[in-house]
Amino acid sequence: MAPVDEAGPVGVLRAQLGAYLLLVRIAFRQAAQYRASLALMTATEVAATMLDLAAIGIVFAHLPALDGFSLAEVAFLYGTSALAFALAEALVGPVDRLGWHIRDGRFDVVLIRPVSVLVQAATLSFAPQRIGRVVQPAVIVVVSCAALDVDWTAGRTLLVPAMVLCGTVIAGSAFVAAASVLFVAPDATVAVAALAQGSALAARYPMTIYGRRLGLLLTVAAPIGFVSWLPALYVLDRPDPFGLPFATRFASPLVALLAAAVATLAWRAGVRRYRSTGN
């Protein structure tokens, strides 16, 4: 083991990453204890993906275009945002277990372990089968990119993985910030999960369908538009229907950093509150 004073920020980060991977491995092993349940849950995830795909397929089979966006364009928006949310969910996890732990008072155990509270909270509800959810949107991204009629310059090509990465950070930050609410209202699990789901849903479609006012609100304030909508406008080479400055299309990394900072603060405030009230 490295001495503590050698650690520094990088060392701390590496140690937390190690702890994260270890807890994930434990979650895998735990899930394997209940084979029938794991099989059923995996089957459910697969079925959910298929049904989701069928639902989209049915809608788009009837729709030539949505609010002026072609099928390929809508699929690109859908795929990139869904991929970002799926990745965030696989990494940070949904927050339901956290709420139960807080309510039952089992969260105290989390606080006495010498591992970052956030790392533990993220792995509390780590569900191996959720990794499978990444596959479907990834496929949609690839297929839609192939179908898009755009000039694949280096900038556009690079922007696609970059926007997914930033989108994942923004979505993950949203999950963490939402989870912080559970320290105040441990019973709000369902509501928090629904909000996460709502933002995932909102991000999937062209922001214009929400009208100018709500669309702008979602884009800038939520800030769901930075997950895929604004960078996608660049990739799709379209003018911004809301007339936002051109630079906003490349602002996602900045927004991601900001979101991560806000989420960290919210999380810390939540943990502090829990520590002081004990609940």
């Binding site: 059923l40 609010d67 709502g198």
Partner: protein, 280 residues
């Protein structure tokens, strides 16, 4: 005792009704005990309803007549349907049996002078009442204010809709109760819960109106009990031309409710017998 003689004994039915009401009222109180939770939940219901309303407009403006609904019908379907989603617990769960069996707290439930199935149903009524008032009504009001929605075709249709909602609650409860009761036979209910949540969400019509599905898949989806939870009440409300009559729709729900409650009753008997012979 003299007192005994002068006091009119309340009838058995009245006493039973009071007990039901007391259980439902206590559950309702629990569901409003955490103000922040209620506020967060109401807000998320409203947001989801608004988002889905806009989505419906985008889709149906591009393609009026999709799934047999014109734009107004589609908006009504999506707004009212989405507003009701949490009242009918379309995402599954909300019945505590698995946790109580796993923790052994089920002993307390069995020591009560109140039947097991009716205990959980009475609790469901209390929960649903709170969810209806605190989630469905605000979301519905915001949805109607933003998008406008069709009023019920007539006063009779409105009454039929109310009956349909009650039946939907019964069917939705029975499905989730049966799922919860699998804890008596499996070591880990999470798989069953996840599967049932998916089935309920998708085949109730909460994702898309079931009328959109073509062919055999559509026919099967519309015949399953899940359809009785959201799709059928919305059909009763909208009564699309050429669709089934209101009587037929209500009979469909009542039939599933009766069937599922019969099964629930049997499953309860078998599960409790298993519990009392084999221990927790």
């Amino acid at each position: 005792m003299a007192v005994e003689a002068t006091r009119a004994r309340p009838s058995e039915v009245w006493a039973e009704a009071r007990a039901w009401a007391a259980v439902a009222a206590a559950t309702a109180k629990v569901n409003v005990a955490y103000r922040a939770t209620v506020a967060a939940s109401t807000l998320s219901n409203v947001i989801m309803t608004v988002l889905r309303g806009y989505l419906a407009i985008a889709v149906w403006e591009a393609r009026p007549g999709l799934a047999g609904y014109d734009l107004d019908d589609a908006i009504t379907f999506v707004v009212l349907g989405q507003a009701l989603v949490t009242t009918f617990a379309v995402f599954g769960g909300m019945i505590d049996v698995p946790w109580r069996v796993e923790s052994g707290a089920i002993v307390v439930d069995l020591a009560r002078p109140f039947g097991f199935l009716r205990w959980w149903l009475a609790r469901e009524l209390g929960r649903a009442a709170v969810f209806f008032a605190s989630r469905a009504v605000p979301a519905g009001v915001v949805g109607v204010a933003l998008f406008g929605a069709q009023p019920p075709a007539s006063r009779a249709a409105g009454a039929a809709f109310a009956v349909s909602l009650a039946l939907a609650l019964l069917v939705g409860f029975a499905i989730r109760y049966l799922v919860a009761m699998t804890v008596f036979w499996t070591t880990d209910v999470r798989g069953v819960l996840a599967a049932s949540s998916l089935a309920l969400t998708f085949f109730s019509g909460a994702v898309l109106p079931l009328t959109i599905f073509p062919g055999v898949f559509g026919s099967v989806a519309r015949a399953l009990p899940f359809a009785a939870v959201l799709q059928v009440p919305m059909d009763v409300y909208l009564r699309p031309a050429g669709g089934a009559g209101i009587g037929q729709l209500l009979a469909f729900q009542a039939g599933w409710a009766a069937a599922l409650f019969t099964v629930s009753w049997l499953v309860t008997r078998v599960a409790l017998r298993r519990l009392v012979t084999q221990g927790g």
